[in-house]
């Protein structure tokens, strides 16, 4: 008979009809019911494993206005008799949290169909004294999707709100305050902590890649501790320092000097309107980082950890010893030299080489150098909770990343404690502390030196002798040896931030805040270059030692930055008018003190301390600098009826970096928005267009990043020798520019925001940005004899557009999202006073900043006649050499024939973020790419035998009279013709890369509850797994301009866990 089968079901907020469908699929029972009747039923939450049909049905029908009877294989659903539907009142208690379990104080809870309503308290808790038996709660909170939850007697209700798709109601952090996203009139991108923390990187900047339109992050290196991304917001606005200003909880700081796990959100202020309140430092955009704070009283402990391995994405393939010698001889003979290697030696290599590697070395330099484990791990523990008066969020982070070469490492300890005090309804305070110790370690001679030599030394040089001693390498430069035992360069970055704010709110519409935040920084360097004894093949000690003496340099740079800020905010709504006024004052001053000490000649190199070095050659040095900035700023926000929005900002900045008379400048901005969707005439479309806004902004921003004293001409001290005595010297080395003043960037922005069906949101923006009086060190005539000072020269334009599209959808229990951002910027140098530098990457009038400049290659010379008839080139030119275009037809190829051949600024940058979750599983992927960019590899990176180095396998495909359609020109040793900067060495650097992919599984509650764990998620993650590009073989397209000596980009595989108690 019936009830025999066991059912497994897990549904949330399902309709009864859905449950019936599921049950009949699993059990062969059929349901008979009236569809209209089911409309009165409330949603069902059910989670059963191997349960009886009876249990399932009882769960489904509890509290429903319906009941059922089972007739053989049919279940008949009917209304409950009216008399049993009498209203029973009972109390309800519950809590509202976000998906991570953090309470949402202030969430509104209403009982559906009644006028009962309450607001969740500080801990997200709420209660009703009496609700009807079948009550349904409607829970809403700004920025989150409204939830409908049915109530069961006696059971506390746990309501979890999901962040709203379009994020329309979300609150966005802006300069010196917050703003509702719907009311924003400037251009602000926000990044959530979850998007950052999915990436297994040590540096926050690298994690920002691909997440926000208009924000281009380029990561050039995979070296632990040096793998930060370079952030460019809306193009490159200036010729000097183009880094955005970064504020961590309002204090200017370094984005990479914070544990990414402590970040709650990041706002990126992109246009002048939103960043002008930061005036003189905002020209390159502003990044506001907000750290996590305790949200409720409930004590929560979180533990997040991952571990994994890295390996290089790409490496050039080098030739073996015999090939190196044969190709070298070919190159020597081609330039009219005698062959370098005797045929006899090459023969011996072939016949006796394998048996006698000491005499005939064959070293795979890459294999021997890349012996680092590449292991990395991250642990982050946080404790959050408190009372109504005091709340605290304390966290401890540990990150350790070992490199793919030995002695390369990055370790960071971070400690952060954010505390909120509430003295009374009117007075509150925040007291935050952060201490970070980040230590980077690399070989004493630098990781770059390791890769330089690794890809340079021919395979026929000895790396490790057969008796295990170090071979001579190249004249004592043995990257295997010096990367493993040649001493280390260690840089410890310690910083401490205290951030104290006092808030006073005498009346509801007036708030004031005073902030004092001292920042202490310390960079301690210790570089020990240790002698490595190398041995000749016969076992005798070699005198080729690099370095020739062990040497130790210790440096200490201590800085202190003082921040004082006071703001007052007036906020009042009068009928349909909303008015907000902010005024503030701030002061920042900075001072640093640098000392260095040096000794060499360590007789006992196991004791790398200064006292162990010889006193005879000791050196000490030191210097100091300071700067100050003081500012007044203000903002006015006005909106009428939530339809017409207006904002104006003003900042008055004074800087010590300019001479008296030029110290102060004003930076204004204005913006306005119109929420069309709020207009009456849009009402018929309300179900389609959830929101629609057009906005426009204009403003001026400044830049003062030009060193500390560009206006002052200062005498430098030094030393020299006369008559074998040390003498002190003084000299004027740098020209000063007393007239130097502010650089100004003017920017206009227009944008459209649309949200459709509450699922799809689109933001499209266009901007026009022009920087004038750019602070730039322009070449000056060398006959002045002083290095050039910065001048107010140059005009640069950036015009661009951005598109961001977010879509969140669900198919039954499969929830998914697609976020796409695309942006483009056209950069152009408009004026440089006519001084157009030459060189590989140059800024020239009429072209983008850092354009690639060189000769236009026209293929290879076909024969001697071709050479003779063509314009005169460089040195001895033969068929198979590169032929360059004679741009000015003067029959001589020289500098005048150089033209801009490409641009290194990425265009059409995009990021595609995909995610899906199904039951406990979730999958996220990030695809990132560049649509258009030129890459340029040169020197030993790609040029055969550059400065005597070896060659790569791909160079075997070179021009010979018999093979004219080759990939590379004829081999020529020590001839410059083919090594000139030319379009030949340029390659398309566009790419699409699977930047990150993660698969996670959240364990079901019932499995973990017994262990006392609230939430447990396990995941696997892969970074940089897959790339499509057309760049040079052996090199990573993300570092598209290089000479082949960089630490390679890495792929990372990790697995991790998120747990909360």
């Amino acid at each position: 008979a019936g009830y025999a089968q066991k059912l497994t079901l897990s549904r949330k907020n399902a309709t009864l009809e859905q449950i019936f469908w599921e049950v009949s699929k699993q059990s062969r029972y059929e349901f008979i019911y009236d569809a209209d009747m089911l409309k009165e039923a409330r949603p069902v939450n059910i989670r059963v494993i191997n349960a009886s049909l009876e249990k399932v049905l009882n769960e489904c029908f509890t509290g429903q206005p319906l009941t059922y009877t089972v007739l053989q294989n049919t279940i008949v659903v009917k209304r409950k008799p009216l008399e049993t539907a009498a209203v029973v009142l009972f109390p309800v208690k519950g809590s509202v949290t976000d998906e991570k379990g953090a309470p949402l104080p202030g969430a509104t809870v209403r009982v559906k169909g009644t006028d009962k309503a309450t607001v969740a308290d500080e801990n997200g808790r709420f209660s009703f004294a009496d609700v009807p038996e079948n009550a349904v709660l409607l829970v809403s909170y700004t920025g989150y999707v409204q939830a409908e939850v049915s109530v069961e007697e006696q059971e506390p209700v746990r309501i979890i709100l999901k962040e709203s798709v379009a994020g329309l109601n979300s609150i966005v952090v802006v300069g010196y305050g917050t703003q509702k996203k719907v009311n924003l009139t400037g251009s602000v991108s926000t990044v959530k902590s979850a998007d950052l923390q999915v990436r297994p990187v040590g540096q926050t900047s690298a994690a920002l890649q691909g997440l926000a339109p208009g924000v281009t992050v380029v990561q050039r290196s995979g070296q632990p501790g040096s793998d930060a991304g370079t952030i460019r917001i809306r193009g490159i606005g200036t010729l000097g320092d183009s880094n955005p200003m970064v504020l961590i909880d309002g204090i200017e700081g370094n984005m990479n000097n914070i544990d990414p796990n402590t970040i709650e959100s990041i706002s990126i202020l992109k246009d002048a309107a939103s960043s002008a309140i930061y005036g003189s430092r905002a020209a390159n955009g502003v990044v506001l980082i907000t750290t996590k704070r305790a949200k409720g009283n409930q004590l929560t402990v979180n533990y997040d950890a991952y571990a994994g391995w890295q390996q290089p994405t790409n490496l050039p393939k080098m030739v073996n010893a015999v090939d190196h010698m044969l190709l070298t001889n070919e190159a020597y003979v081609n330039v009219g030299r005698a062959p370098l290697y005797d045929d006899e030696l090459i023969d011996k290599y072939r016949t006796e080489g394998a048996a006698n590697r000491d005499l005939y070395p064959e070293t795979d330099w890459q294999k021997e150098v890349l012996t680092g484990s590449g292991f990395q791990q991250n642990h982050f523990v946080s404790v959050s909770g408190g009372t109504d008066k005091i709340k605290s969020f304390a966290s401890f982070g540990y990150f350790d990343q070992k490199g793919v070469i030995e002695t390369t490492d990055f370790t960071r300890f971070s400690f952060r404690n954010n505390t909120d005090f509430k003295f009374s309804e009117k007075v509150s305070a925040r007291f935050d502390m952060q201490f970070i110790n980040a230590v980077q370690e690399e070989p004493g001679r630098g990781a770059e030196a390791v890769f330089h030599w690794m890809n340079r030394i021919p395979a026929n040089q000895a790396g490790i002798n057969t008796d295990g001693t170090w071979g001579e390498g190249w004249n004592g430069d043995n990257p295997i040896a010096f990367s493993r035992v040649g001493g280390t360069a260690k840089t410890s970055n310690r910083s401490g931030i205290l951030n104290f704010s006092l808030n006073y709110q005498p009346v509801k519409w007036l708030r004031s805040e005073l902030t004092i935040a001292p920042v202490i920084g310390e960079t301690i360097g210790k570089t020990f270059n240790r002698i490595v004894q190398t041995y000749k093949p016969d076992g005798t000690k070699s005198n080729f030692l690099s370095p020739t003496k062990s040497a130790l340099t210790e440096t200490a740079n201590k800085s202190f930055q003082n921040n004082v800020r006071a703001t007052i905010t007036f906020e009042k709504n009068i009928r349909l008018h909303e008015l907000k006024l902010l005024a503030g004052f701030s002061r920042e001053d900075f001072r640093n003190n640098y000392v260095s000490a040096f000794r060499d000649g360590f007789i006992l190199p196991d004791y790398p301390v200064l006292a162990a070095g010889e006193a005879v050659n000791q050196k000490a040095n030191g210097n100091s600098a300071e700067w100050a900035l003081q500012s007044l700023f203000g903002r006015l926000n006005y909106n009428f009826s939530g339809k017409y929005l207006f904002e104006a900002n003003l900042r008055y900045d004074g800087s010590s970096r300019f001479a008296t008379g030029n110290k102060y400048s004003i930076f204004p901005s204005m913006s306005a928005g119109w929420r069309i969707s709020q207009e009456k005439f849009m009402e018929p479309l309300a179900h389609v267009i959830s929101d629609m806004k057009i906005r426009a902004s204009w403003g001026q921003l400044g830049n003062q990043n030009i060193g500390n004293y560009p206006f002052a001409s200062q005498i430098d001290f030094g030393s020299y020798t006369l008559g074998k005595q040390i003498v002190n010297t003084a000299a004027l080395n740098t020209a000063a520019n007393v007239d130097i003043s502010w650089e100004t960037t003017e920017m206009t922005n227009v944008a459209l925001d649309i949200a459709l069906f509450s699922k799809l949101s689109i933001t499209a923006e266009y901007y026009d940005k022009k920087s004038k009086d750019i602070l730039y060190v322009l070449d000056i005539p060398l006959i002045i004899g002083l290095s050039a000072p910065p001048q107010n020269v140059g005009v640069v334009s950036n015009k661009g557009w951005e598109l961001g599209v977010n879509y969140n959808g669900a198919i039954r229990e499969l929830e998914y999202y697609v976020n796409v951002n695309v942006s483009d910027v056209k950069n152009k140098v408009l004026d440089l006073h006519g001084i157009n530098r030459t060189g590989l990457t140059v800024s020239r009038e009429g072209y983008p900043i850092s354009s690639i400049y060189g000769l236009e290659a026209e293929g290879y010379f076909t024969d001697e006649r071709d050479v003779a008839e063509h314009a005169q080139q460089f040195g001895i030119v033969k068929p198979g050499d590169l032929k360059y275009k004679d741009q000015n037809n003067d029959k001589i190829i020289n500098d005048l024939d150089n033209v801009v051949i490409g641009s290194t600024i990425p265009r059409f940058t995009y990021g595609i973020n995909l995610g899906a979750s199904y039951k406990g599983f979730n999958l996220s992927a990030m695809i990132q790419g560049v649509g258009k960019a030129d890459g340029y590899l040169y020197r030993q990176g790609i040029m055969p035998f550059y400065e005597g180095g070896t060659v790569q396998e791909q160079h075997k495909d070179h021009w010979t009279p018999e093979h004219t359609g080759a990939a590379f020109p004829r081999l020529a040793f020590s001839e410059v013709n083919n090594e000139k900067n030319s379009s030949f060495w340029m390659k398309n650097a566009a790419y699409t890369r699977l930047k990150n992919i993660q698969l996670g599984y959240t364990l079901p509650d019932e499995w973990i509850k017994k262990m006392g764990i609230r939430n447990l998620r396990l995941y696997v993650n892969g970074s940089n797994l897959f790339t499509i590009d057309k760049f040079w073989d052996g090199y990573d397209v993300e570092s598209p301009v290089g000479i082949g000596n960089g630490y390679p980009q890495v792929k990372v595989f990790t697995f991790g866990v998120n747990a909360s108690l």
Binding site: S713, K724, P781
Partner: protein
């Protein structure tokens, strides 16, 4: 609020506007001028005098780079070697100008003697920079005061104007400079140095009387004399020699150079990167005073015997002891002797087997010293800029060219030829002007090879186009030339008649564009920032 909050001034040094307020500051400033004299304009980190000969017929730079390009003739106006010389020189000039512009602030504070001396030192150093610039680039902008940005569009002075400036300045400096200093202040400019540079630049510009006069005045100072041991002069022992008139000063930890690692043999753990060529070796006379193609004392099978001793002092020859190793470069000499231990050890010979052993089979010996054996990249051996032998040769050449040959000319040449350790046969009186011209030109080569004069000599003698075109030879890897090459009046060998010439190692094939390469190009960036500077022809 505090009005001074934004008033921040440099913490590391005084402002230039107030500088030179007392004697201490004056001395700091003049020392700063000296500090910019020994610059190292190539990747080798070697001073100018020793690298200049590598771009002549005498030497070769194996390291691919800007210097090799110049020797080979494939340079252009972007060559970093020229840029480095130009910018280093003008930065030195600016330091001198700054001092000279501000020295009057202490005129009444320091003694008149010191005021005059320091002023003369600065004028000497400024003219010293110009004397290189004018020979390398031709007429250059003669800048004599601190330039502001808006005053910097200065055109070139003519070569004549530039040369005259140097002559006048050196004369003026000589008036106020002392003949010498205490040992712990040696390295400062002296009267002799100013007159010697004056003589040098006059000679280069065919102002024969001026040159002879200035050289004679140096000789008459009776301060200088030739160092008896020619080889020792270029070692640590020779640093205090009375032959040295002006030297670039080095000291560990303060300023060092890299000559040892570039010059040493492979066995001595050097790179043998900068090396002399076969033609320098063959140009030295035999001890009988005849060239090797004429001397009965020359044996092609033992080519290094019976030769002018300066050959062996200037060049490390195969078969000699170099840095305590038996120096052998015959490719079959796979073993050699290590004299660092007693008794000597038979060891593997990397000077024969290493692919990067000297390409020519020879190394420079001048400026190599066993003291630098270990710390090869940080030598503190002073490098001579002006020495007395040069002054004697300037005197002789100027007199010969101006047709005023008398005994003093023969004396000057023979003093150089017959210093105790050299002892070459004297030149007998009665030579024609043509013969004497040949003698003096060869003598400059023998005496001064490796010291940075050759590039200017072959330019002014207008023989660079012959010497710098074609093949630069090294030794025959497994043998010797079967016969002596023909040696011309300038001492230049011609190998066309040597039977086994084809076995000689082709180290490099060079080109020299006669209509271009007699002058080096003004650095490209300088012509961009200062359009009033005209570039040299055909660059």
């Amino acid at each position: 609020c505090n009005k001074n909050y934004l008033e921040k001034y440099p913490l590391d040094g005084p402002s230039s506007s107030s500088f030179i307020t007392n004697e201490q500051e004056l001395m700091l400033a003049i020392n700063g001028c000296y500090a910019s004299v020994p610059f190292h304009p190539s990747a080798h980190n070697c001073p100018l005098p020793v690298i200049l000969d590598q771009v002549t017929d005498l030497g070769f730079d194996r390291n691919n780079g800007t210097l090799q390009e110049v020797g080979k003739g494939s340079h252009d106006s972007n060559n970093g070697f020229f840029l480095s010389i130009w910018s280093s020189s003008y930065s030195g000039i600016a330091r001198c100008n700054f001092l000279l512009d501000n020295i009057d602030k202490v005129k009444n504070i320091v003694s008149e003697q010191l005021y005059n001396r320091v002023k003369a030192e600065a004028r000497f150093l400024r003219a010293y920079h110009y004397h290189y610039l004018v020979e390398m680039f031709g007429g250059v902008p003669v800048v004599t005061t601190s330039l502001k940005l808006d005053e910097s569009q200065v055109p070139r002075n003519t070569k004549e104007e530039t040369v005259n400036f140097i002559l006048t300045e050196m004369e003026a400096a000589a008036a106020d400079l002392p003949p010498g200093y205490a040992a712990n202040e040696s390295g400062r400019a002296t009267k002799g140095a100013a007159l010697a540079i004056k003589a040098r630049i006059a000679l280069y510009n065919e102002k024969w009387d001026v040159a002879a006069d200035a050289a004679k005045r140096v000789m008459d100072l009776n301060v200088y004399q030739l160092h008896p041991d020619f080889g020792e002069l270029f070692t640590y022992k020779g640093q205090t020699s009375k032959e040295i008139i002006f030297a670039l000063q080095y000291l560990k930890g303060i300023k060092t150079h890299n000559i040892p690692s570039q010059f040493f043999s492979r066995m001595a753990s050097g790179f043998s990167g900068l090396v002399p060529g076969q033609s320098l070796i063959d140009s030295y006379e035999c001890t009988d005073g005849l060239s090797i193609d004429k001397s009965p004392g020359f044996d092609p099978a033992k080519p290094f015997e019976n030769r002018d001793p300066r050959l062996g002092y200037t060049v490390a020859l195969p078969g000699s002891i170099f840095m305590n190793f038996q120096f052998e470069t015959h490719k079959d000499s796979v073993k050699t002797w290590d004299y660092n231990t007693t008794p000597a050890k038979r060891v593997n010979n990397t000077d024969a087997t290493n692919a990067f052993a000297t390409f020519t089979g020879y190394c420079w010996r001048k400026y190599t010293d066993l003291t630098d054996k270990v710390e090869r990249t940080t030598s503190e051996l002073n490098v001579i800029s002006v020495r007395y032998a040069e002054v004697l040769l300037i005197y002789a050449e100027a007199k010969i060219e101006s047709n005023q040959v008398d005994n003093t000319v023969y004396d000057a040449i023979n003093t150089v030829r017959q210093r105790p350790s050299v002892n070459m046969p004297s030149i007998a009186a009665g030579k024609t002007r043509e013969e004497l011209r040949s003698i003096i030109r060869k003598e400059r080569k023998y005496e001064l090879a490796g010291e940075g004069f050759r590039v200017f000599d072959i330019r002014r003698w207008k023989i660079a186009d012959q010497l710098m075109n074609g093949i630069f030879y090294g030794r025959i890897p497994r043998g010797l030339p079967a016969a002596a090459p023909a040696i011309d009046a300038n001492g230049t060998p011609d190998y066309s008649a040597v039977p086994n010439r084809s076995e000689m190692r082709v180290v490099e094939t060079r080109i020299f564009k006669t209509n271009r390469d007699y002058l080096w190009p003004i650095p490209n960036i300088e012509t961009l920032t200062n359009p009033s500077l005209a570039q040299n022809p055909n660059y």
